[in-house]
């Protein structure tokens, strides 16, 4: 059973008969979804594994008379995005990990000056130049500390290309509703793989914003800025921002669950890791271990309460990430020590295999087996329970 808090394109086979699914590469599907969502301007810079997104835009946007600029750098691209979005245009930018790092300052500016836009990060292995393999090691960066100062951004993580298409439209909507940049956090697999997508797109409605820069005709001039030199003013602005973040945290939590009804072990995973988890759940169940999946779709706001609700009934939680363990902190925060948490991760561009995940699940189930309750747990075992 798959519950989604967001409407997503149905997987192939279940698709509405009317529209035939087409095979699309993730990068291209996200690009086209943005176009169909009414994206007026795209700014980017080449980097593997997101280059096809830029290339798709390079072809399509001029065709449609819209704006495509390959910037001189990611710094250039993100600041062009800032400028275009400050006029109220629907704007997309994209890059991959090292390029995203270069955008930290501007992201902080846009959060501060409340400029809505969408940024796609097709993550690759790090740190540094790293590898070009798929990765989820920018979770901390996307959800916590990328730029300086107190801000949070909605972060949406697709787990299939069809979902990436749906989330792209959602991202623009969330961005404009809250006047905030939104990050789509995709990993290299989501960018590079091809999957069937039912080419039915959504164009979020536009509401006149009232803050956007259009030239001050018959009205007071407007300023889009993050500077509030007097700390008192900046604090007031921060209070405003924090209230907005609280509203987002209340209204924009997204997640999905699979096979949790009877699950003893809850796998928490997003993006490609959740896909691997799906295979692992099948195999684990074949081996007699009842596992299920809790899949955060919004990484910020993290579905803490929702996770807690399902995890507190389970014996163990296994967090699967393509990182050394980053989301695991949010899982710990959500569960507050009430359910044992295990971690299974691969790094540097490696994708966990279903077998590894099955192993972790079986192990977690064994270590936390009820017949062991009261029996002393060995020190080694304790150490791995977080």
């Amino acid at each position: 059973m798959v519950l989604m808090t967001t409407a997503t394109v149905a997987p192939a086979g279940q698709a509405a008969e009317a529209v035939r699914p087409v095979l699309m590469k993730g990068n291209e599907a996200m690009a086209e979804a943005a176009i169909q969502a009414g994206c007026e301007a795209y700014f980017g810079y080449p980097i593997t594994p997101q280059a096809e997104l830029l290339e798709w835009m390079a072809r399509r946007m001029p065709e449609l008379g819209r704006v495509f600029v390959q910037a001189e750098s990611e710094l250039g691209a993100i600041n062009m995005a800032l400028g275009a979005a400050a006029t109220g245009a629907r704007v997309l930018a994209s890059s991959s990990s090292p390029g995203i790092s270069l955008m930290a300052e501007a992201m902080s500016y846009m959060a501060g000056s409340e400029v809505p836009m969408v940024l796609i990060n097709v993550m690759r292995g790090g740190p540094g130049l790293g590898s070009i393999g798929p990765s989820q090691a920018d979770y901390f960066q996307a959800t916590k500390g990328h730029g300086h100062g107190d801000y949070r951004l909605p972060v949406l993580a697709p787990s299939s290309i069809a979902e990436a298409v749906a989330l792209t439209a959602d991202a623009f909507e969330v961005a404009e509703r809250y006047r905030t940049p939104v990050i789509i956090l995709a990993d290299g697999v989501m960018g590079q793989a091809m999957e069937p997508v039912v080419p039915v797109y959504r164009t979020p409605p536009r509401e006149s914003a009232g803050w956007e820069l259009t030239g001050a005709v018959g009205r007071e001039p407007r300023v889009v800025r993050s500077l509030h030199l007097r700390p008192e003013e900046l604090e007031a602005h921060n209070h405003h921002l924090q209230a907005k973040f609280a509203a987002i945290a209340e209204h924009e939590v997204r997640w999905a669950v699979e096979d949790l009804d009877d699950a003893d072990v809850v796998i928490v995973a997003y993006g490609t890791s959740a896909r691997v988890a799906r295979t692992a759940v099948e195999r684990a169940r074949e081996q007699g271990v009842r596992a299920g999946i809790f899949r955060p779709i919004s990484l910020w706001p993290f579905p803490s309460a929702e996770l807690a609700a399902v995890a507190l009934g389970a014996r163990a939680v296994v967090v699967v990430e393509m990182s050394a363990g980053q989301m695991v902190e949010d899982v710990r925060l959500a569960l507050g020590g009430r359910t044992p948490i295990f971690f299974q991760g691969r790094t540097g561009g490696m994708v966990p295999t279903p077998s590894e995940v099955v192993e972790a699940v079986v192990h977690a189930a064994a270590v936390t087996a009820p017949h062991l309750a009261g029996h002393p747990v060995s020190d080694d075992e304790k150490a791995e329970i977080r």
């Binding site: 600029v69 600041n79 006029t87 245009a89 704007v91 820069l213 001050a216 001039p221 407007r222 993050s226």
Partner: protein
């Protein structure tokens, strides 16, 4: 100002309308004030204010948006030309200009101005070169003169350690995407007038649909230079121009591009 309603005097100069009626945070005698005024005068004279989106940079002039009565977007330090590119591309009918200091444009923002120029972005750039980082306390800029004492070149700028003053506008003038490039100064009223004419030309070039136009303006930072405003003006007039000669480097609307500066 006048408390008598029946003031019959004929105005021959008044504070431009585009200049907000407030006192600025600039130090006494700071060139930014003069240049703001010139921008405002042109916005008035060319009736540009309602169609203008200004792009502010980070430097003492970051508050330009408090002083010019037009729509304004703030840029991160140095990125104004990129921000302006974004604005320009989605608002083809707007009048778009950046207002940047020398630290902003010629140091941290080098890549952005060079590539906005290479792309021939239809924007106008007001480049206020006071040879120093004013806002952060008078540190050396890439434009600082050789031998000049600043808080980060306390012994005077020495080429062997800190390099040479950068003629960035000459460099930009080489690019075919740059339709107009000129350097003026504010050292005295005639020069101010000439600078204003350059700025007008830069704005016209944009309105004519041509490429990037830039006016570098040799300005003063009396506080950063440790001079009185009067001394600072004299310094520009006599010393700074030795390193940064005044003139129109290129006007590709008028003359065909030569590829070399026409200083």
């Amino acid at each position: 100002m006048s408390t008598v309603t029946s003031d019959t005097r004929r105005v021959i100069y008044r504070r431009p309308e585009a200049l907000v009626d407030t006192s600025t945070h600039y130090c006494p005698g700071c060139g930014h004030g003069i240049i703001h005024r010139l921008v405002a005068e042109l916005l008035d004279e060319m009736h540009l204010a309602p169609s203008t989106i200004g792009v502010a940079s980070v430097g003492c002039s970051v508050f330009a948006y408090d002083y010019l009565a037009i729509d304004f977007v703030e840029s991160p330090h140095g990125r104004a030309p990129a921000v302006a590119t974004g604005v320009r591309r989605v608002r083809p009918d707007a009048f778009v200009f950046t207002y940047q200091g020398d630290g902003d444009l010629a140091a941290i923002g080098t890549a952005e101005i060079v590539h906005a120029a290479a792309r021939g972005e239809r924007i106008s750039v007001i480049f206020v070169n006071n040879g120093i980082y004013g806002m952060t306390g008078g540190q050396m800029a890439p434009t600082t003169l050789l031998g000049q004492h600043t808080t980060s070149s306390p012994a005077g700028r020495e080429a062997s350690l800190a390099g040479y003053p950068i003629p960035i506008t000459e460099m930009l003038a080489l690019l075919p995407g740059v339709t107009y490039a000129a350097r003026g100064s504010i050292a005295d009223p005639p020069l101010i007038g000439r600078t204003k004419a350059m700025m007008r030309r830069a704005f016209e070039v944009q309105l004519a649909g041509a490429g990037l136009s830039i006016v570098e303006i040799l300005s003063t930072c009396p506080v950063g230079w440790g001079m009185t405003p009067t001394e600072a003006m004299a310094h520009v007039a006599h010393d700074v121009v030795q390193t940064y000669p005044l003139g129109v480097m290129v006007d590709r609307l008028k003359a065909p591009a030569t590829g070399a500066p026409e200083v």
